[in-house]
């Protein structure tokens, strides 16, 4: 047991306690949390900073506004509903189209039909705070449903794959692609069974994946090889995520992006407490990279410079794979 802990430490693996005590508490002041915990606010801040985000169709802030749902999506064929203060992908409903016979019935990403009533009940639950981090009242966001880039089509089971970048003091430190599986119910959340694939920071190519803390080479549902996929617009992704630091001022930040086939990388959300499984996906400990960033840290550097520096500093060592 002691030996295992020593081996993890020598490889620079970051544990939950250390993440909380050393990085989140030190670098993420509480007063900045609303910037990432409330997705409406995150969206607005990102737009102000000139970053691309999925279009906002409407926000439902209280029970009375639930009725406006039908008019908000009147002219839309597909959309996504998510709680503004949700976490871990809970409470997200993806609607990909409408029933051919009934316009008030929607086709969910899973292929099932859901009625307007069912969606309205879901909206009530969101507004009541069922999915919010604090259990307080919440708002429901209705926004553009991303049509993801075909590069990940073979390694996703329904849902939307996204790219998670850990940004430490403004420098991208580690990245992974999160691929939905049948087990994760189409959600790109590792905790729920999605596959995470590490990313070579220099080339933007995927490495092997991890699923339920185990290393995998193939997607469990589609059987396609995970490694070796080139992520499009990799430099834009690194730059946007580096810019996330300016937007949120959080020193330890997780930036989640999706790649739309028409609009390129879009900021989905940001996270003040990003998980640690990214280390398994990259088969590398985070602490060594965070220490390297501490050494190269330059308070005057622009997001472009920081992204470029990180790109050069963290190539994946092929020997480790």
């Amino acid at each position: 047991m002691i030996g295992a802990a020593a081996r993890l430490r020598s490889r620079g693996v970051l544990g939950l306690n250390e993440r909380n005590a050393e990085f989140i508490m030190r670098l993420n002041p509480r007063r900045f949390y609303p910037r990432v915990d409330d997705k409406v606010k995150t969206k607005q801040l990102s737009l102000d900073a000139g970053m691309a985000v999925p279009d906002l169709y409407g926000v439902i802030r209280n029970q009375g506004e639930v009725r406006e749902f039908a008019s908000i999506v009147e002219s839309r064929e597909s959309f996504v509903i998510k709680p503004a203060q949700g976490s871990g992908g809970d409470g997200i409903v993806v609607v990909t189209g409408r029933s051919k016979r009934r316009r008030d019935a929607f086709r969910a990403a899973s292929g099932l039909l859901v009625t307007t009533q069912e969606i309205e009940h879901h909206l009530s639950n969101i507004v009541g705070g069922q999915y919010s981090l604090s259990g307080n009242r919440d708002a429901a966001i209705i926004e553009y449903c991303v049509r993801f880039d075909p590069v990940f089509a073979d390694v996703s089971y329904q849902g939307v794959p996204d790219v998670r970048v850990i940004v430490y003091r403004g420098y991208p430190a580690m990245a992974m692609v999160r691929l939905p599986t049948r087990a994760s119910d189409g959600k790109a959340n590792l905790h729920q069974g999605a596959v995470g694939a590490g990313v070579d920071m220099r080339t933007g190519q995927t490495l092997t994946g991890v699923c339920q803390n185990l290393v995998v080479d193939e997607h469990p549902d589609t059987g396609a090889l995970i490694a070796g996929l080139g992520i499009p617009a990799w430099d834009v992704i690194l730059e946007s995520s580096a810019r996330g630091y300016e937007v949120t001022e959080l020193g330890y930040l997780g930036v989640d992006m999706v790649i739309d086939r028409d609009r390129g990388p879009l900021i989905l959300e940001m996270n003040a407490r990003p998980g640690l499984s990214i280390q398994i996906a990259n088969r590398t400990g985070l602490k060594t990279r965070l220490a390297a960033i501490d050494r190269m840290h330059d308070p005057g550097a622009t997001p472009e410079e920081r992204a470029r520096q990180a790109r050069e500093a963290f190539p994946s060592d092929p020997a480790e794979l």
Partner: protein
Amino acid sequence: MGDRYVYILALVLTVTGLAVFTYQWRVIGFPLTVDEEDPVWTIEARIGFEGGPGSIKVNLNVPTLTPGFRMLNENHVSRGFGFSLNYGTGGREAQWAIRRGEGPQTIYYRISVYEDPTARQADTTPPFPPVPVITEPYRTAVDVVVADVRQHSADTPSFTSELLRRLNDRSPDPNVELLLSEAATDAGFVEVATTILAAARIPARMVRGFPLVGRQRSTQPVAWLEVHDGDTWRYFDPATGVETLPERFLIWWRGNDPLVNVEGGNRVEVDFAVQENYVGAVAIAQTQRAQVGSPFPDMSLYGLPIRTQAVYGVLLMVPIGALIMVLMRNIVGIDAFGTFMPVLIALAFRETQLLYGVVLFTLLVTLGLTIRFLLEKLRLLLVPRLTAVLIVVVLLMMVISLVSDRMNVESGISVALFPMVILAMTIERMSVVWEERGPADALRAAAGSLVVAVFAYLAMGQAWLEHLIFTFPELLLVVLALILVIGRYTGYRLLELGRFKALSGDS
């Protein structure tokens, strides 16, 4: 930087806690372990009354001479009252007085005694009592009875026994019947006996006290008869006439006076609580402390009313349970619902016992979860749905209690002790996790909560630990220091070693 302050603070707390602990243990002499040899009895009188608008004076007879016992200490709790101890006709009297007092008042008087067979009463021989002034027709009746009993007895003890035998006769003679016509209570009965004995020029008096057995709540004093034979006082059972004293009988007061006399108050209620402590040395240490003149104010919990002591006995163990929970979550890394939910469940286990506690908890959560899923179909708003779950939990508790009572499973009744609000929140949270993350996650977190609760219960149930914390509450400072240090623990959690296994393999 932050680390250093935490460690310094933890060090200061530990040193303070241990220093006070060492002082209390070595100098004052509080015992580290429970002493089962030397029981100390604590008897507490609680006087409750409705205060009038004006001044209030309360007189309470308190123990003076208690053969077979020695007093360790006595104290009283009363808000705003002046207190004095006087000698009255029946022995010592405690007096509380206040100029103005309105509304319900409560006064506590408490005495701690321990058994000492060598403690004899050093009472003076009383003078022969004057012949009581008795009016007719009682006078004739008394004279006849005294003459009759004297005929059938040889000395004072046999006179007393014979008298009591006649007074207790199922078919009494008309004279006895007349004398007892006014005596409605045991005390009244003994009073009649003392009057007749006085008429026969035998010094006699009523004593009242408590046979000390185990833990009693709301007990009332027992009347006994005390007769002086010229040398010593002898005790007679008024109900049988046998010369005896109940085992461990603590004499509270003597004479015919009422126990308590309240001027300026009404609806007086007195009840007694008796508690047996196997911490004799504790009480002894307390008397010592008074003599030594400890520089610290008396902060011992043994000074609180007995009822409050029982509450703190439990409360002080909560930090221990919380410590276990912190260890399980931050060092081991077990998932659980709610921050303090496992500790509260563990507290409930104290009453239900472990096995039944776990069974009942599982049963309650399973049933609650089933009904919660049925409620889901109704599409209720969040807060009404939570409330509905709460009501269902209350009803389920009631049903489980009723069913187990019918089936004569006593432990089932104690289900009512589970914190129902916490249970309702747990069921709601679990159902959300169940739907969002799947049954595996929900069951894992539920099992985690139960495991933490069981460990917390086991830690909180250690009698020696409970005694230690209750006697030396300053040890909680050490617990606090430990929590602070764990708060800065940045090492891996035990379960993380498994989680990151893929990273620790040899490359």
